[in-house]
Subunit: 284 residues, 2 copies
């Protein structure tokens, strides 16, 4: 595995790859890799000749007072995991390499960024879109893999890639979970054992809601009330939002149907956790 930190080295490496007509899979991450990331990497390896992972904790997507400084990092372990998984190229740039000048440019995606995470973190998605656009430009023509755990982010990046004609095909990959249902997240590292146990209510409530939908219930208010009630049984879990939306446009709906998505966010101790489900499929 090649490990590089400079943008011009990426160009050099990938231009050679492309000259050989090889396809490139891209897995952009903020590091502290877990099995969710590894699932993205494995899918990329399966579908592409060359797989590139990027590790960069992007300050643009953290607001003042969020967990930028405490965000977990372990580049040594990340490298070992990437190497073991069969990654060809690991790009781990410094802040100075990515932002050598003061960044004046930002990307906005309207409508998709107003609700849910966008409401709780108003500058977050602009920061995500901007760094992802930059990574897409650095890499060029490729297939890019993102987790469905960040469902809203996935829709935003998909839309941005279309609107700006990036030569990047964006793929979403199913959320990877612990055996008790908790979605894998780097931020789970913040949880105490007690909080860790309480946090399982998130996926459990989404699974129960999915079962209710599969039994014939279609009213979003009924389903939301059921989830709110379930989560209220865990005093350590403080719900931020619960929304049921059309899965692509992220517009709120009254009646659940094919393509609907249930999404929630909650604070559990120091951790802000998110999860979502296709109620016709349920937690898997």
């Amino acid at each position: 595995m090649r490990v590089i930190s400079r943008i011009d080295e990426v160009h050099e490496f990938l231009d050679e790859v492309r000259a050989q007509k090889k396809t490139i899979g891209l897995v952009p991450t903020m590091g502290f890799l877990h099995k969710g990331h590894i699932a993205l990497i494995e899918r990329s390896i399966k579908e592409n000749d060359i797989t590139m992972v990027t590790i960069f904790v992007n300050p643009l997507q953290f607001a003042e007072g969020e967990d930028l400084s405490s965000y977990p990092r372990d580049l040594h372990n990340d490298k070992e995991q990437c190497d073991a998984a069969g990654v060809d190229l690991l790009f781990s740039p410094s802040h100075e390499e990515m932002y050598s000048q003061q960044v004046l440019t930002s990307i906005q995606i309207k409508d998709l960024t107003n609700n849910m995470e966008g409401e709780s973190r108003p500058t977050h998605f602009s920061g995500v879109a901007t760094v992802v656009a930059k990574l897409f430009n650095i890499v060029g023509l490729c297939n890019a893999y993102f987790g469905e755990k960040d469902w809203q982010q996935l829709q935003i990046i998909t839309k941005m890639a279309h609107d700006l004609s990036f030569r990047v095909r964006v793929f979403g990959c199913p959320t990877v979970r612990h055996s008790d249902g908790l979605a894998l997240s780097s931020r789970n590292a913040y949880l105490t054992p007690k909080e860790r146990k309480s946090a399982t209510v998130l996926s459990r409530s989404l699974q129960k809601a999915s079962e209710t939908v599969q039994s014939g219930e279609r009213s979003t208010s009924v389903i939301m009330a059921q989830i709110i009630e379930e989560i209220s049984t865990e005093p350590l879990v403080s719900l931020d939002y619960i929304e049921i939306v059309e899965g692509r446009s992220l517009k709120s709906i009254n009646k659940i149907k094919e393509g609907s998505r249930i999404l929630l966010a909650a604070n559990v101790g120091e951790a802000r956790l998110i999860d979502n489900v296709d109620p016709y499929v349920g937690i898997q």
Copy 2:
């Protein structure tokens, strides 16, 4: 010359060009080509193996009430001029090809877009940046040529290309002028003969100001007053703004020095005209 209207045809054409290790020069335009555009094309031809011109009147950069519907168009003549100039590829997409979905994505460049054109046309540069980003993505690795007449636009695109790591080198080319000094512009077509004559005061005032600077005057307020007085002698010309700024950052300055730029905009009849000068060089 190949004339194509579909994005996937551009990819096909340019992928083949790149496979042959040929360099690509890009000249993005809104059509109704004049000798200013042809100068960009000639520079591109000189510096690249393949030259591509794009013609697209981009609705995103026109505000409600601006001249989108009346903006001059003559695709037949544009094709002839491109062919005669030695262009290899003319990309002239339909609105539907460029914006097949409702566009939700936009690009903002702060600081550089606040004053001058940005103040008079608050949504203009976001529209320019968004379509230029899209064209850069469609074309990929290339050298791109823009006119210095749109000096503020040139600085904004240069900064965007850096911030988002586009693999595009952005080059500015000197403004081309009629023999009486008027900067070439598609919008000159709106001028009556009388207005056309009055409009020469713009470049004349910039030239006189440059001479004053070259004689030793450094005060921006003195220079601005001189230009305002000169322009006030032409009743058909209504000054919108006059600014003296640091040429890259576009920040207002009090004392003129190397790298300063004088920019102005004025309404002349139906036409909104802009012009600018490096006062150490003058109108050429």
